[in-house]
Amino acid sequence: MVRNIGDILEERLRYESDGLLLEARLAYDQHIQPTCAALIAGAHPLLGGHAENNVAQSLRTDLAAAGVAAMTFNYRGVVRDDGSDLDWSRMVSEFWERGTVPEEALWGRDAQSALRELRRCIEVPVVLVGYSFGCWIVSRLVDCATPAAVICVSPNPNQHDMPALQADHGPLLVISSDDDFSCSLDELRCWFADLPAPKQHSLIPQAEHFFRGREQEVSAAATTFLAGAGLIGDQP
């Protein structure tokens, strides 16, 4: 299925992960040959992490407008009839108690599968983009994906270790706000200081963890960063 938004085409795809057929959306400008592709890993499935989450959706559309082939995807279980047999009630219970669930490893596998699908669709350098929990997801892909760049939006190093980001990972952009409930600005700066260069930190003030109504500022920071890294042409 293809949806046309001005010059942007959005293809609704299925990607295979552990035998499941899961949903993904690939957006690109039909008049521009993409110079890179972005895999956008969304927030935690138990916290609204799906392909149409406000930040993920905005990044997909805006990066596409900047000449990137941008893909968001659903983790298994997010669409209840996707064939996965996750015990949602147990997950909800466990998540309430511990703030984490064992299924997170499975969602990491889904991201790997989505990356394979993206590479099957288009052969250009890949940028890994993570939002919130998705930052942890993309950090687990860094070693195998050798990305051209990594973008982390609202990472929460208090909740998730991301050791792969401590190693060589190509240019890194961290986008955060100064009033993120999950990680204070001081904590974030401390974590960021330990990361290897090249790296940038873009601060969007007073946007909380969720950037509600501020999504385009996130996209603008990402687009500017990719342009600076030579991965896309001048911004339109």
């Binding site: 916290l47 609204g48 406000n54 009630s89 219970s93 309430w96 409930f181 963890h209 109504g213």
Partner: protein, 495 residues
């Protein structure tokens, strides 16, 4: 396809006009929105969603586009390129000038700036939304022609519209068409009484509520016989009309080139009298005793009851103290002669406004007054009876005190204490039970939530719900709520 440039689209009348324009097949609308564009656009999307229009769909089909700007500041050069018709709805409705110079700045200078830009870019038609009370007319008949004069005691709003009309008429030329449309006092829609702005006639309704509150606190008064003098004549007309009706006509006037006069009074051809309005309002607030007087204002002997009543503002006197009729040649030509507002509709509009706390609870106040949905029954009966049957009951670690605030609903606040997956107690209204966290959500969004048409997470990400207190706990609670609703949704409303 004709391109219409619309101002005031996020206003009470304006968003209905945008909806009606987009319901036409052969119209493209360019909307002027104030900065910041994305924020204003999000607000517009919510407003239109409340009245059944999907702005994203219209956007996708290239039927609507947005330009950022704020009159009277100059528009970008391209703003009016290709525009056939300007529909200028934006206005400041302040009765008295503020430090920024409104209403004159918006209504006179803003209109003049738009006319200048229209002249330069070759716009062919300019439709200006004025007011039926232009120039501060207090008695007599307003013709469908340029307002003869501005009354010395006209308020600043009426004066600004008078000045703006003059400028619009000066813009007229053989190859340029002008329409000045003068709507009467607009109230909420016929179906729900829905409104998004609560000045104007609503100030009068608010005054009656203040009177009723004063009566609540005085056990010695017979609330049906409060001694209250009302400035005005009981037989004078109060020209109120529904916003949807005005929007339909305004859209038609903008899109058709049929010959009409340049000035159109868009008024209720058969309006209620001041005495009708008094009775309808007294009925809503369960008070009585008001009597009309011709005594000249201001009075030196106002009673405490009159102080309470007139404290709501000068509009209280403005709306009942006039005796104006209107030429309705245009409306007669299109077959409009029947009454547009009756007691049921008027009272529905007032109740809607009251439940929305006169707009103070939120900028977004949609929700059906006659909806089947009763939040009180939901919290106090439905949830307690269903929660033990849901999988939430098996979450033994789930203990929290949660407050739910339903915006647009009087006393719409409940606090629930859960322990080991069980609902231990529910209280309505503010109380001493300290919450760990809470959710504040619009009434209509809450209805969509409990009927399973929207998740709490989606409502939050789309800024239709807010979290207070411990954000992390609240976020972890959202899948619990969504699980309960998925297992036990309320039936969705019909139609």
């Amino acid at each position: 396809m004709r391109t219409v440039f619309l101002t005031g689209a996020t206003g009470f009348l304006g968003h209905y006009v945008l909806r009606d324009l987009l319901r036409q097949d052969d119209v493209r609308v360019r909307v002027l929105l104030s900065p910041r564009l994305e924020k204003t656009q999000a607000r517009l999307k919510r407003l239109l969603g409340d009245i059944g229009l999907d702005l994203d769909a219209a956007n996708t089909s290239h039927r609507v586009e947005f330009v950022e700007g704020r009159l009277p500041d100059a528009l970008d050069d391209d703003s009016l390129r290709g525009v056939h018709t300007i529909l200028h709805v934006a206005a400041s409705t302040r009765f008295r000038s503020n430090r920024e110079g409104d209403p004159a700045r918006s209504n006179v200078e803003g209109t003049a700036a738009l006319l200048d830009a229209a002249r330069i870019t070759g716009v062919q038609k300019f439709v200006f939304v004025s007011t039926a009370y232009v120039g501060g007319l207090t008695s007599g008949c307003l013709p469908e022609s340029p307002a003869p004069a501005c009354a010395p005691d006209a308020n600043d709003y009426e004066r600004s519209k008078f000045e703006a009309e003059k400028r619009v008429l000066q813009w007229s030329a053989p190859d340029r068409q002008v329409r000045i449309v003068r709507p009467s006092i607009l109230i909420g829609d016929e179906k729900y009484g829905r409104a998004t702005s609560f000045g104007g006639i609503y100030t009068l309704a608010r005054a009656v509520e203040l009177l009723a509150r004063a009566a609540d606190q005085d056990a010695s008064i017979d609330r049906r016989a409060i001694p209250l003098r009302i400035v005005g004549s009981p037989q004078a007309f109060v020209n109120v009309a529904p916003v949807c009706w005005a929007s339909r006509h305004l859209t038609h006037i903008a899109l058709t080139d049929a010959p009409t006069g340049a000035v159109i009074n868009l008024v209720n051809p058969s309006p209620p009298t001041s005495d009708d309005v008094r009775r309808w309002l007294e009925d809503v607030f369960d008070v009585g005793g008001g009597r009309f007087t011709q005594e000249t204002w201001p009075w030196t002997d106002t009673s405490a009851w009159e102080d309470a009543f007139y404290a709501a503002g000068e509009q209280v006197r403005a709306y009942l103290g006039r005796d104006v009729t209107f030429e309705t040649t245009y409306l007669a030509s299109v077959g409009e002669s029947h009454p547009l507002v009756d007691a049921t509709h008027f009272q529905k509009a007032v109740r809607f406004a009251r439940d929305a706390r006169w707009g103070r609870s939120s900028t977004r106040v949609a929700g059906a007054e006659d909806s089947h949905f009763d939040p009180a029954r939901y919290f106090e009966e439905f949830v307690p009876s269903r929660l033990p049957q849901s999988s939430v009951a098996s979450i033994k670690s789930f203990s929290a005190v949660v407050r739910y605030v339903i915006e647009g609903l009087r006393n719409g606040e409940w606090v629930c204490r859960y322990n080991a997956g069980r609902l231990m107690e529910t209280h309505r209204g503010p109380n001493t039970l300290n919450e760990d966290f809470g959710f504040r959500i619009q009434r209509d969004a809450f209805e969509r939530l409990v009927t399973g048409r929207k998740s709490l997470q989606s409502a939050y990400f789309q800024a239709e719900a807010e979290i207070f207190g411990n954000t992390l706990m609240a976020l972890k609670m959202t899948p619990i709520i969504d699980t309960f609703i998925r297992e036990h949704p309320l039936p969705a409303p019909q139609g």
